[in-house]
């Protein structure tokens, strides 16, 4: 039997980190959100679908840096495009031609969109999107889905730390798949709602993923039209893993604004907000900038990544691998007398144990899998990448079988 991984260096480095960095590691990458002590804390390198932590443990990775790694770590095409661009410099006084090329490429690729602006992180562009909607409509309220994540800016940040009530005073929540509740909010705040922002399907942390019910997205689209409200599709997590033309093509609806980030440049820091012609003038009135928003190597990487996704028909392959993983996990669980729920599209799968809402078995499962070289987050959906092959999925299922056996022994069902 292979020796189980240990995390001594991760822990030691974390002790150092905690002395000089608040929380040691901030936000959702803090170990508290995974399985502290049985999960890596610090990265060393990545290659293909494999990720190596500071302890030298190597994993088949289904976290993909929380989404960006869509082709695989160190993809040669993307790396050389970025390196080539870097030879000319990194950040300049002005954007380079790459900015225009990338905007043209995205407008041509994402259906229904006529313009494009760049940021660095997803939060930059979701904030920009709601501001463009407010400017366009001259209204205040933002309607979003309860439990949906749109980033870390004040209007949508989790918790209350550092926030004041007015930060979220104009943000209203409704339940996923409940267009009637959205309509009630629109009626209650008639004339004051600027936008409805949704993810194309519901992928909350700490829960099963939920696909749109029949007619839900088209109902929202109709409601937005009727009430003069902007419909924003936050495609930051699902983008380029369901359909290169945007997840709204996959689910068949027509948003006014779409946001991208994660899988856009295979790990390079860039995000994009796209919109329809109608909104272009309003978008131009929002002062949207950042020191690094124009840096070119990331834009070159994005151009190369998009071309590779097209050339390899990556989505089809990832769908196939994701299906193999989901079906395999289901069978392995069943063979061990356990019941699991696999949710979400095959390229962004997630698993929970039946009849459990405190995640204890998930935490144990993920911790045991990590110790055996497979990285599956207990509380956050997983990501398939192009580099995942059948052999990797089979290795994953072998490890999963062992972990299910442990769960069965410890928890009984």
């Amino acid at each position: 039997m292979k020796k189980l991984y240990c995390f001594d260096k991760s822990l030691a480095l974390f002790e150092r980190a905690a002395r000089v960095i608040p929380s040691g590691i901030s936000g959702n990458k803090n170990p508290a959100f995974a399985v502290p002590g049985s999960f890596p804390y610090f990265a060393e390198s990545g290659e293909g679908c494999r990720y190596r932590d500071v302890d030298g443990n190597v994993y088949i990775d289904y976290l993909a840096a929380f989404g960006p790694i869509v082709l695989g770590y160190k993809n040669p095409v993307v790396e050389s495009a970025a390196a080539e661009q870097r030879r000319t410099g990194t950040t300049f006084n002005h954007p380079t031609e790459r900015a225009v090329e990338l905007a043209e490429k995205l407008v041509a690729t994402i259906s229904g969109m006529d313009w494009c602006a760049f940021g660095k992180n997803g939060s930059d562009v979701t904030a920009y999107a709601v501001q463009a909607a407010r400017e366009h409509t001259q209204r205040r309220k933002i309607i979003k889905v309860r439990g949906a994540y749109h980033g870390s800016q004040s209007w949508c940040r989790h918790g209350i730390g550092g926030l004041i009530e007015s930060d979220y005073e104009h943000v209203l929540d409704f339940s996923w798949n409940d267009a009637t509740e959205a309509e009630d909010l629109l009626l209650e705040h008639e004339g004051d709602v600027a936008c409805i922002i949704i993810t194309p399907y519901h992928h909350p942390a700490f829960g099963d993923q939920v696909m749109p019910a029949d007619g839900f997205l088209s109902d929202l689209q109709r409601l937005c039209k009727r009430h003069g409200v902007v419909l924003i599709s936050d495609d930051i997590r699902a983008g380029f893993r369901l359909d290169l033309r945007g997840s709204h093509e996959y689910f068949d609806f027509e948003p006014d604004i779409t946001c991208y980030c994660k899988a856009m440049a295979n790990g390079y820091a860039i995000s994009a907000c796209l919109g329809t012609q109608d909104l272009k003038n309003a978008a131009s009135k929002v002062f949207f900038t950042g020191t690094y928003y124009t840096s070119a190597p990331e834009q070159a990487a994005a151009l190369a990544c998009l071309a590779e996704l097209e050339r390899t028909d990556a989505v089809s392959h990832m769908m196939k691998m994701g299906r193999m993983l989901m079906e395999g996990l289901h069978t392995a669980a069943e063979n061990n007398g356990l019941e699991v729920t696999l949710s979400g599209p095959p390229t962004l799968p997630f698993m929970t144990f039946a009849n459990e809402d405190n995640f204890r078995r998930s935490q144990r499962f993920s911790g045991e899998a990590a110790k055996r070289g497979v990285l599956l987050h207990p509380h956050h959906n997983w990501f398939i990448m192009l580099e995942h092959g059948e052999a990797d999925i089979q290795d994953t299922l072998d490890v999963a079988d062992t972990c299910f056996r442990i769960i069965k022994k410890e928890f009984g069902s």
Partner: protein, 277 residues
């Protein structure tokens, strides 16, 4: 202009008049929250004084009375002493009553300043008040211990348990009254959280439909478990000195089970320090 607050109107007296009488017609939210915490989170710990302290037990054994603490236009609580046990209720009859003219006056008393509440009934039982005073002195000793007291391992353990129970039950006032926590309190999940201090006591919290109750000891099958490495860490945690995310990462605190519940409840717990020292 004479302004009339809703509290003022209840008396039919304008608020400047109430102020002139030394009464507080509209306590600040801060004072109200603190008063709630003093009555519903600190005072009920007298129960623990009886459990943990020999002298406390002897005093309580002699008491057979129910004492009401009432704040004018504010909260009230009744402590019933019988058979060496103490129960706290927020309604019902009492033998003896103490009226505080404002939340601030009640808070001053809990802060250790001299105040004179008005006895409003049961004067013939006033002798019980000196016993009560002694019990509260013992409670204060446990909640604000001297360095010498803290050298005794048993005392430290009692201190930690009582302080933790104060902090955990005080979250109820945060959930009910703190405008900054409203966003969390409105969607507080149901469940139970077990706190285990590895070389010390255990407590748990039960959250049900917005009500929060803290109790000592363990509970079966908690929704969330929080293991705290040792009493020293628990003491720092109570003082609000711990970076809990860092402590989670290092393994000094181990949270398992529903982290959503842990996170939401911890947000309330974190705010207690803004009101109670």
């Amino acid at each position: 202009m004479i302004s009339m607050t809703s509290q003022g109107r209840a008396f039919g007296i304008a608020s400047p008049v109430l102020q002139w009488m030394g009464l507080d017609p509209s306590p600040s939210i801060h004072d109200r929250i603190r008063a709630g915490m003093h009555l519903f989170a600190v005072l009920p710990r007298l129960t623990d004084v009886v459990r943990h302290d020999e002298e406390g037990r002897r005093i309580a054994d002699k008491m057979r009375v129910s004492i009401e603490f009432r704040v004018l236009n504010g909260p009230r609580v009744v402590l019933s002493f019988a058979d060496g046990r103490i129960k706290t209720r927020s309604e019902g009859k009492s033998d003896l009553g103490l009226l505080f003219t404002s939340c601030a006056q009640l808070n001053n008393m809990f802060d250790g300043r001299k105040v004179l509440p008005i006895p409003f009934k049961g004067l013939h039982k006033a002798g019980e008040l000196s016993r009560l005073t002694r019990l509260t002195e013992i409670l204060t000793r446990y909640l604000k211990p001297s360095d010498t007291d803290m050298q005794s391992p048993r005392f430290r353990e009692s201190h930690v348990e009582m302080s933790l129970l104060v902090g955990l039950s005080a979250t109820q006032q945060i959930a009910l009254q703190d405008p900054r926590a409203e966003r969390i309190a409105n969607h507080l999940p149901n469940g139970t959280i077990q706190y285990i201090i590895l070389d010390g006591p255990a407590c748990h919290v039960v959250l049900e439909d917005g009500l929060i109750e803290a109790r000592s000891g363990t509970i079966a099958d908690p929704t969330t478990t929080i293991e705290i490495q040792d009493i020293d860490l628990a003491v720092s945690l109570i003082k609000g000195e711990v970076d809990t995310f860092a402590a989670n990462g290092s393994g000094a605190i181990k949270a398992s089970g529903s982290l959503v519940l842990a996170d939401e409840f911890n947000t309330l717990f974190d705010r207690v320090g803004h009101y109670l020292q």
